[in-house]
Amino acid sequence: MSTAYEPVIGLEVHVQIKTASKMFCGCKNEYGGTPNSHTCPVCLGMPGVLPVPNEEAIRRTIQTGLMLGCDIAQICKFDRKSYFYPDMPKNYQISQYDQPLCNGGGVMLGKFAFPKETQKDDIASSKKVVRLTRIHLEEDVAKSTHFETSSGIDFNRAGTPLMEIVSEADIASPEEAFAYLKTLQQIVQQGGISDADMEKGQLRCDCNVSVRPVGTQKFGTKVEIKNLNSISGVRRALAYEIQRQSRVLSEGGSIRQETRGWDDPAGETFILRTKEDAHDYRYFPDPDLMPMRTDSGLLSEAQARLPELPHQREVRYMNDYGLGDYDANVLSSDLALAAFFEECVQSGAPGKACANLIANELMASVSSDASKLAESPVKAAHIAELAKLLEAQKINSKQGKEVFAEMLVSGKMPAAIVEEKGMSQISDTSALEAIAQQVIDANPGPVADYRSGKVAALNSLKGQAMKLSKGKANPQLIGETLERLLKAP
């Protein structure tokens, strides 16, 4: 019988912080730009220069920590991490070693953060929290481009503010890793901390992964996978690596502690270096940089700009718009979806009807992938108008679905579609009475049946009335009108 293995995964996520200037000098912090156009003696690592920390980068790191429920250090410092590599001309990177800015905290995995085909799995609804170890602030390194026989270095990125978010080894599958990264990406985007575009390297992820026999507690030997540049790439790399390690172990082999890269086109990981050449970073406090106190304004300034968090938004939606907990949860868990909903209700459209249309029709139309909302021809104005038509009973819910389907194809506004298709529902009392009277006059048989106690005869009359009105009569109201006229002396 073969042993089943389970993975243990921890992620180290680097997030570039959106600031005007770099971390320790006044050079512009900008993606792209002419190579080496944003440099100065500080970020080129010239001897004798003095770095001065950017207070905004510190504030934004604290804000991230607050959004993720971390403890913010009262006092912390910067350390030097020594290593030799052409992307770091000082031969050390300024980072934080034993006193990071943020400790602890966690990331709750929202249902819609999971890959869409796994959103129905139990784990997606379990509100699992992946604990964080720490978040520290450091400087990014230069960007290297590799050519045939040489490498080229662009120092524009060198010295830009970077935070590293380190998780505990709480992640139990590639899908959870996917949801963790999606959630983290949304939170830093929502907080205005970073654009977190993985393709631009604004969010980068290294994975630590090991496997162990199911049911055992002891961690296996871990392997680090570096240089992953998409969230789906992280998922695929982990799936491959888990399978590779499980196969090695089940064939009686052992896992070496090593760093591997991910070859996306080939769909496999490959060895970068083994533990023997592991770095010795010789961290020590940077003598050029004085320690930081967060309690002298930095913390309160970060607190003051905290955005509304998903669970706070969920409660507000239930209270302000009377949404049910399902709709409130769906809409609040995703920033794009929440923004879409708020745009709908801002025009005075009824919240509940909007929520219903968004959580059901609209989400189904984008295969539950909220990031595709922007591409949909159905905009907030469409949903708001449709919700108003439904609320005012101008059309019934069945017609509403028809209108939605048409909007999805043509992008036309709902009122125009209703007009075009002659769908307007008749709810006006005198118009309904006229139709009902005509049906009563034309159907003496069923009328007599009803009056002699055969209540079911009403259905046949109602059917006649709907037919007469070409389906436009409000079905409930026409039934009531018929009943009222038939019972009248």
């Binding site: 005007a20 200037s21 050079c27 190579p35 590799h146 050519f147 662009d154 120092f155 406090p285």
Partner: protein
């Protein structure tokens, strides 16, 4: 503490004679550390900085950078505004 190892980390090429000299010198520095380690330091907070100065920070403002030509002026090889070096692999 092995001088050869430290020299390797610091990318310094030392002769056998230098290794011996520096091993002795480093030894006496480390002996001094032993003297500190032998003191009773109970209740004394570890300090990274001796002066009680915190938050020497700057506002997030852009200052002019070097012209690209100046930034590249020390580079032995350059092309397309990049500093070129022998091919590096992680």
């Amino acid at each position: 503490m092995n001088v050869e190892y430290v020299a390797k980390l610091a990318r310094i090429d030392l002769s056998a004679q230098e290794i011996e000299t520096y091993q002795n010198q480093l030894g006496s520095v480390l002996e001094h550390m032993d003297a500190i380690a032998s003191l009773n330091l109970d209740g004394i907070e570890p300090t990274a900085h001796a002066s009680p100065v915190f938050n020497v920070l700057r506002k997030d403002e852009i200052k002019p950078s070097l012209p690209v030509e100046d930034a590249l002026s020390n580079a032995p090889k350059k092309a397309n505004d990049l500093i070129l070096m022998p091919k590096i692999v992680e």
